[in-house]
Amino acid sequence: MSDEQKPVTNIKTPMRLEYRYSAGIATSRFLHGIAQGKILGQRCPSCKKVYVPPRGSCPRCAVATEEEVELSDKGTITTYAVVRVPSENIDVPLPFASVHVLLDGADLPMFSVVQECPLEKIRMGMRVQAVWVPKEQLGPTLQSIRYFKPIDEPDVPADQLRETV
């Protein structure tokens, strides 16, 4: 070793762990629906609220959910942000609108993306509809819904969205 070499201050310790992820019962049923171009929520047997995507329970009532409800692929933007910073977990080109969409018939919003709309036109209460991948490309993944796009329907007033941010 040469005496000029600097003392060691850092080491590299790469980690790669491989797992087999399981989506669970409720999410799998939901994704099977998506593969057929359907959005399936679940209704809480106690409070009757409809969850989408369902996780097999109503956290509010702490009970399991079973009853499936087919939902419209139209909904309303309850709130949103415009993402301009890259994130390793996201494939969407920047900038994009990250939105909470309350599907018609659902009682809590799902997270998605809005496109086919100038970013400055996006607003709370705006009506949107899912844009699906072509039928032959449908699969059991949320990526089957490419994004949501605006539709020509009047905005939903803000006070009707209060509890569904």
Binding site: T9, N10, T13, M15, Y21, A23, T27, L31, C44, C47, K49, V50, Y51, C58, P59, R60, T78, T79, Y80, A81, V82, V83, R84, V85, P86, S87, E88, N89, I90, V92, P95, S98, V99, H100, D107, L108, F111, S112, V113, L119, M124, P140, T141, L142, Q143, I145, A158, R162, E163, T164, V165
Partner: protein, 385 residues
């Protein structure tokens, strides 16, 4: 039946983007030895250790408290590891305090930390899971829509968030441990900084920091005669609610409101803005100051922004908030909650130096985590409860 619990020693590291000069153990020991020294104690005086941090993916060490047991003088002692997401630093302090309040231990060391530079915070917080369309970009991506909802509901002026950020960054200049200490930061630099998660600008967001915080909590009889008198815990509370459910109020979460209500009842506080001298609250994005002012009952719903706007939350205001510079100026996530709790205690001990609120005798420490769903809080005072 609970024993009184004193905060007898406080220590923290210098927080910075990358503490390249220390190991993980070295980072914790820096905070811990300062807390021990402040308490007039040494490792053998400690009976138990409670460690807190956020996801283990940050450092890539599963349950790192096992490896850290040696570094924290824990051989032959009890050790607990708490993880309640972003609120963990606060919750960890409460778990440690419970050991004293229950009469189980006399002197407990509690340490919270994050060495985020070992990986990348956005990666570690939103690891991509298969079969899901991932559209949430880190914590900013999660919280920005909630901020927009608040802006929309309250009608707050658009520059409220800039004003909060400016206040906290100026406060940080008075805190030698703070991460972001830029004397040239002004309204225009914040307003002109890029929108990362619109409506959140770069300078309205917390940094990613390496850092640790430690406290020595003791029973009344174990308090030693040191430079600063201890702070006393007057009340503690924690509340959690599920991440997402139908009918949930995400902007002004009930778990936070319930937690504050329970806390004030235990501390005998009926008018928080009058009776509490200062507050250190968890504000990772500037708009959360007005949001939490309402959630904590310092302002009416929809009016939290007025406190910021009128300067009430400034160091010389009637309700100073985050005099240390807060999470906006230093954010080692696992430690950030404990820093809030510790800074509140430093204020009532009169040891906050340049960012001291004159005559502070009652202070609030607050932390939250997850999707605005985990809350932990304490009220500390200079007098015995």
């Amino acid at each position: 039946m609970a024993e009184r619990c004193a905060i007898a020693g406080i220590g923290q590291t210098h927080h910075t983007a990358r503490r390249d000069d220390v190991s993980i153990a070295g980072l914790l020991r820096e905070a811990a030895t300062r807390a021990l020294e402040d308490a007039g104690m040494d490792w053998p005086d400690i009976e138990a250790v409670v460690v807190g941090k956020a996801p283990d993916m940050f450092e890539g060490v599963m349950m790192p408290e096992l490896y850290l047991a040696d570094a924290l003088g824990c051989s032959g002692k009890p050790m607990l590891r708490v993880h309640t997401a972003g609120s963990v630093g606060g919750t960890t302090a409460l778990v440690a305090a419970n050991l004293v309040q229950a009469g189980i231990h006399e002197r407990v060391l509690t340490v919270a930390f994050e060495k985020q530079s070992e990986s990348n915070a956005m990666w570690a917080l939103t690891v991509k899971t298969p079969l899901q369309a991932s559209v949430v970009a880190g914590a900013g991506g999660y919280f920005a829509p909630l901020v927009r909802s608040y802006m929309n509901r309250s009608g707050a002026p658009d520059d409220t968030g800039i004003r909060v950020a400016l206040k906290d960054r100026r406060n940080a200049l008075k805190n030698p441990y703070a991460h972001l200490r830029d004397p040239n930061m002004n309204f225009d630099t914040i307003a002109g900084s890029p929108m990362l998660w619109d409506p959140i600008r770069l300078h309205e967001a917390c940094p990613s920091s390496d850092g640790a915080c430690a406290m020595v909590l003791t029973s009344e009889r174990s308090v030693r005669n040191t430079q600063y008198k201890p702070a006393w815990i007057h009340a503690t509370s924690m509340r959690s609610e599920p991440t997402q459910f139908a009918g949930q109020e995400k902007v002004n979460p009930q778990a936070g409101r319930d937690c504050a209500k329970d806390l004030y009842a235990k501390a005998g506080i009926t008018d928080p803005r009058k009776q509490i001298d200062m507050a250190e609250i968890y504000v990772p994005f500037s708009w959360f100051e007005p949001m939490w002012m309402e959630n904590l009952g310092f302002a009416k719903v929809g009016e939290g922004w007025k406190m910021t706007y009128e300067g009430a939350t400034a160091l010389d205001g009637d309700m100073p908030v985050n005099c240390s510079g807060g999470v906006l100026s230093s954010n080692p996530i696992g430690a950030s909650g404990m820093l809030r709790f510790a800074e509140a205690a430093m204020q009532v001990r009169g040891q906050a130096g340049e960012h001291q609120v004159d005559g502070a005798t009652i202070a609030l420490g607050h932390a939250y985590g997850g999707g605005s769903q985990f809350f932990s809080m304490w009220i500390v005072g200079s007098a015995r409860p």
